[in-house]
């Protein structure tokens, strides 16, 4: 017994062998340098954060799938022990309230999630497909009218405005206002650098204020969108208060923008780098759902999901103590050779499932069915209508996001 206790590792074992984390990607859809070593140490190891704090890093797929649903791990971002990946996020946390859905635990999380869940079902999403297709075609009409032979930024011309239009439509934000959100939601989720902390904070506040005002307008003049439904079913019946409703709408709006647009951009890059798979996909679009699933696994854009332990957890010879920070690396879980054959290869013929790119446990992405539909339509339409699409700069010159935000690129110059 004593031997077992002696061998149990804790964070107090010291900073040696705990490399600096997070690490920036050099190729936007590949593991950053240093991940192979972390993978070899897996399924659980220790890393050192920017402020010198040591945290647990979960890299094994099976272990992660056991820990994600574990109620002893909390998503409460207001917990003083919650691990933060950058000073910028420390600044953002100064907000008085925790972001609904993503930054709270059950039972608050369950109540909020069930409030909006009916709008994100498979049937409801499938009903949106014709509208999504229409946005994709309209944006490509505009883009193609500029070329051929010119260089355009695929991110701002296509990958970002399409999901933006869709989430605005779903929430009932007038389409003419969506540019307002494109820029601001980008600041919230992807702006890099410490000096931009204030910008991210301002953008979040502005979006919140806009949506609060939109709720007033909709109360005066109801429509038939998700926001109208939430006002009628939840706000008017006293199940949520106005502040909470505006915050929920803000989280949905911001999350609905940048995530999908980064996936469209990185998927485009990854497929262009694998022309034989792109050709197979182009000649058989029925492969698209499983290709999207594989691209989610391969790129793992929401790599680091943070938790704080509320109680001691003894697991795999390690003792995660109450108050310890735990980071689940979805990229490493999705590139675990024990769970995926040829884990570092893109293979659109791989059977779907078992990756954790949408997270796992109670916080798994509520918009995943919508995101899948958007990615399927965006990629199929892009490669069908622009068969000669290529990058306008070498792939390694495409600017990559900072390591502590959602993974993606800040622009994607293409030509055709």
């Amino acid at each position: 017994m004593t031997d077992t206790l002696d061998e149990t590792k804790t964070l107090a074992d010291g900073p040696e062998d705990a490399p600096a984390y997070p690490i920036g990607r050099t190729c936007p859809y590949q593991m950053p340098p240093g991940y192979e070593q972390l993978r070899e140490k897996g399924p659980i190891s220790r890393v050192t954060l920017w402020n010198g704090r040591i945290a647990w890093l979960i890299t094994g797929n099976e272990l992660g799938r056991r820990l994600f649903p574990d109620g002893r791990l909390s998503s409460d971002v207001l917990d003083p022990n919650f691990p933060l990946l950058a000073p910028r996020i420390e600044a953002q946390r100064q907000q008085a309230a925790a972001p609904p859905l993503v930054g709270v635990d059950d039972p608050v999380h369950a109540r909020q999630r069930r409030t909006v869940l009916p709008s994100f079902g498979v049937r409801q999403v499938n009903a949106l497909r014709p509208a999504i297709q229409k946005y994709a075609d309209e944006l490509l009409d505009k883009m193609l009218a500029k070329g051929p032979g010119v260089t355009v930024d695929l991110l701002s011309e296509y990958a970002l405005p399409m999901p933006s239009a869709v989430i605005c439509m779903l929430l009932g934000v007038p389409y003419e206002d969506h540019h307002y959100f494109d820029e601001r939601s980008r600041h919230v989720l992807s702006s890099s650098g410490q000096e931009q902390a204030a910008q991210a904070q301002t953008a979040f506040t502005e979006i919140l204020a806009y949506l609060d005002d939109l709720i007033s307008r909709k109360q005066a003049e109801p429509g038939d969108t998700l926001l109208d439904e939430l006002i009628a079913r939840q706000l008017d019946e006293g199940k949520v208060d106005r502040q909470e409703l505006a915050m929920i709408a803000t989280v949905l709006l911001v999350s609905g923008h940048e995530t999908t647009s980064n996936m469209i951009a990185l998927s485009t890059m990854a497929l262009l780098a694998h022309p034989e798979q792109l050709e197979a996909l182009r000649s058989d679009e029925s492969l698209m759902p499983q290709a999207v699933d594989e691209l989610m696994r391969f790129t793992s854009i929401g790599d680091m999901l943070m938790r704080v332990a509320k109680e001691d957890i003894e697991i795999e010879g390690h003792l995660i103590k109450a108050g310890d920070g735990v980071i689940l690396s979805t990229m490493l879980m999705n590139r675990d050779p024990g769970s995926f054959e040829g884990a570092d290869d893109l293979d659109i013929f791989r059977p779907s499932g078992r990756h954790v790119a949408f997270g796992y446990g109670i916080h798994q992405c509520i918009g995943q069915n919508l995101a899948r539909a958007e990615m399927e339509i965006a990629l199929a339409t892009l490669f069908r209508r622009v068969p000669t699409l290529e990058l306008a700069v070498p792939a390694d010159e495409v600017p990559v996001n900072a390591p502590y935000v959602l993974q993606g690129v800040s622009e994607l110059p293409v030509t055709w």
């Binding site: 369950a110 009916p118 994100f120 498979v122 796992y360 446990g361």
Partner: protein
């Protein structure tokens, strides 16, 4: 076998309904349920994959004598 979904635990990720649409569906609240009459899984080999895919382990399979 007998399949059931714990609706208190379900978060409506729809992984089951996407994996085996002949056995699972979403109700109007967005929560997953077993399609009435399909509690035996209808011989669908992917039912166990749906159990595994569920992010909150809300699906239970009970083996029955006549399975």
């Amino acid at each position: 076998m007998h399949i059931s979904v714990d609706s208190d635990r379900c978060i409506g990720s729809a992984q089951c309904a996407v994996t085996v649409p002949s056995v699972f569906e979403q109700d109007e609240d967005g929560l997953s349920t077993v399609i009435p009459g399909r509690e035996d899984g209808g011989g669908e080999p992917l039912v166990r994959e749906a159990v595994r895919a569920c992010p909150v382990r809300a699906i239970t399979i009970k083996e029955t004598e006549d399975a």
